[in-house]
């Protein structure tokens, strides 16, 4: 399963970030939590970590490029997996529709559907999620009840939340689409 890597929005004042340096290149194998790149938001600098184990399938921005928030900057997955569906295009809304459409053709779409209540009519179902997923969801106002997990026993992991954000949010910034992107 391919995971987009996004820069979280840390505050309403934060509009974009600059990727100061990539630590990986396309084709590198990475572990979950491994630092992929340094970014600078204008106030803070920090690492963006790999949301999952896998290969770096694509880097959408170069060193020193300005990247909109909540936009995929890279994709982690396995060899041969498609990743172009995560590349943002000039019309963010249209692009997200396209991503949703493409994701429906894979097993990913199943994970994006809210769980249906069980036939036995349990009124309360527990959603298990990782701390990182919960924090990412909290920071970006993502309702975890709408995110289904791809982790062990359906646990929601950060990458699941990131996918939800990609599908449901649009970058709020003044950047021109395509600025600093790789081809």
């Amino acid at each position: 399963m391919a995971y987009p890597v996004i820069v979280p929005r840390e505050s309403t004042e934060m509009k974009s970030c600059r990727i100061t340096r990539w630590h990986v290149k396309e084709g590198d194998r990475v572990k979950i939590g491994q630092s992929l790149c340094d970014v600078d938001t204008g106030k803070a600098s920090f690492d963006i970590e790999a949301p999952a184990d896998g290969l770096v399938l694509a880097l959408f921005f170069t060193d020193d490029a300005e990247a909109p928030l909540l936009t995929p900057i890279a994709v982690i997955g396995e060899e041969g997996e498609e990743f172009e569906q995560f590349r943002e295009e000039p019309s963010p809304a249209g692009n997200k529709d396209r991503i949703a459409k493409m994701m429906k053709s894979t097993d990913i779409d199943q994970s994006l559907q809210p769980e249906a209540p069980s036939a036995k009519g349990k009124s309360k179902t527990k959603i298990t999620s990782s701390p990182r997923a919960r924090m990412l969801a909290h920071r970006n106002n993502v309702p975890l009840s709408e995110v289904s997990g791809s982790g062990p026993q359906g646990t929601i992991i950060a990458a699941d939340v990131q996918k939800w954000i990609v599908l449901h949010d649009t970058p709020k910034n003044g950047l021109k689409p395509g600025d600093g992107r790789t081809k």
């Binding site: 106030k43 600098s45 920090f46 690492d47 020193d64 769980e115 990182r132 919960r134 924090m135 909290h138």
Partner: protein, 222 residues
């Protein structure tokens, strides 16, 4: 231009943490005039580079993000490093320290302090402290510079108007945007102020492990 990457003192503060301390803090007055860029800033955008060269003012780059600052006599630098259990929350980490600093300054009789922009401390809508953050895994470094009694001519003389500015700046030039405790009528003994800041900041890590589970419970009932 020199690009040391980080101040020696900041590096020392970070070393304390890498060696196992939970928390470390340094407070000191700038000894020489120097320009310090944020990690992603470009000197040609933010600084009158030729003037710096003419005056032998070094231009450095720090580890943290944030805007470009001029450090000189009268500017107190506050470096705080520690570990945190919270992912991201960059603004919260910065302002946890800023809130402690405001309390300390208020205890010294300074009034009208507020946090504005993302992480500036102001008096009467003018900036007296700017701060930035550097995060590497669970290690966090806060860097702040407090304008106690510097010459604003020195500060404004080397800095161009920044490309990005906080909303509350409203396009004001540096001269109308920044102030100092001295210009606001507070004549503080700098040595005493440094000691007070050190004592209070060292005694209380603003990022002590918190009730993460309370804030982000592991199970959400549908």
């Amino acid at each position: 231009m020199s690009t040391t990457g980080t101040f020696q003192i900041d590096e020392r503060v970070l070393q304390h943490i890498r060696k196992g301390l939970d928390y470390a803090c340094e407070v000191y007055e700038a000894e020489q005039t120097e320009v310090v860029l944020g990690r992603a800033a470009r000197a040609e955008d933010d600084v009158f580079v030729q003037k710096c060269a003419q005056d032998n003012v070094p231009v450095h780059k720090r580890a943290g993000g944030g805007g470009t600052v001029v450090l000189c006599a009268g500017v107190i630098i506050i470096s705080v490093a520690g570990r945190t259990t919270l992912s991201y929350h960059l603004k919260e980490h910065m302002n946890a320290v800023n809130k402690v600093i405001i309390k300390i300054l208020e205890s010294l009789g300074i009034k009208g302090l507020a946090i504005k922009g993302i992480s500036d401390i102001t008096i009467r809508d003018k900036k007296i402290l700017g701060s930035s953050l550097h995060r590497k895994k669970d290690l966090v470094l806060y860097q702040g510079s407090l304008l106690v009694d510097p010459s604003l001519d020195i500060i404004t003389g080397y800095l161009r108007h920044p490309k990005k500015e906080p909303d509350y700046r409203n396009g004001r030039p540096h001269r109308d945007f920044i102030t100092s405790l001295y210009l606001e009528g507070y004549r503080l003994n700098k040595s005493k102020l440094i000691e007070t800041l050190k004592k209070k900041l060292v005694g209380q890590c603003p990022w002590s492990p918190c009730e993460e589970e309370d804030r982000f419970p592991s199970h959400f009932p549908i």
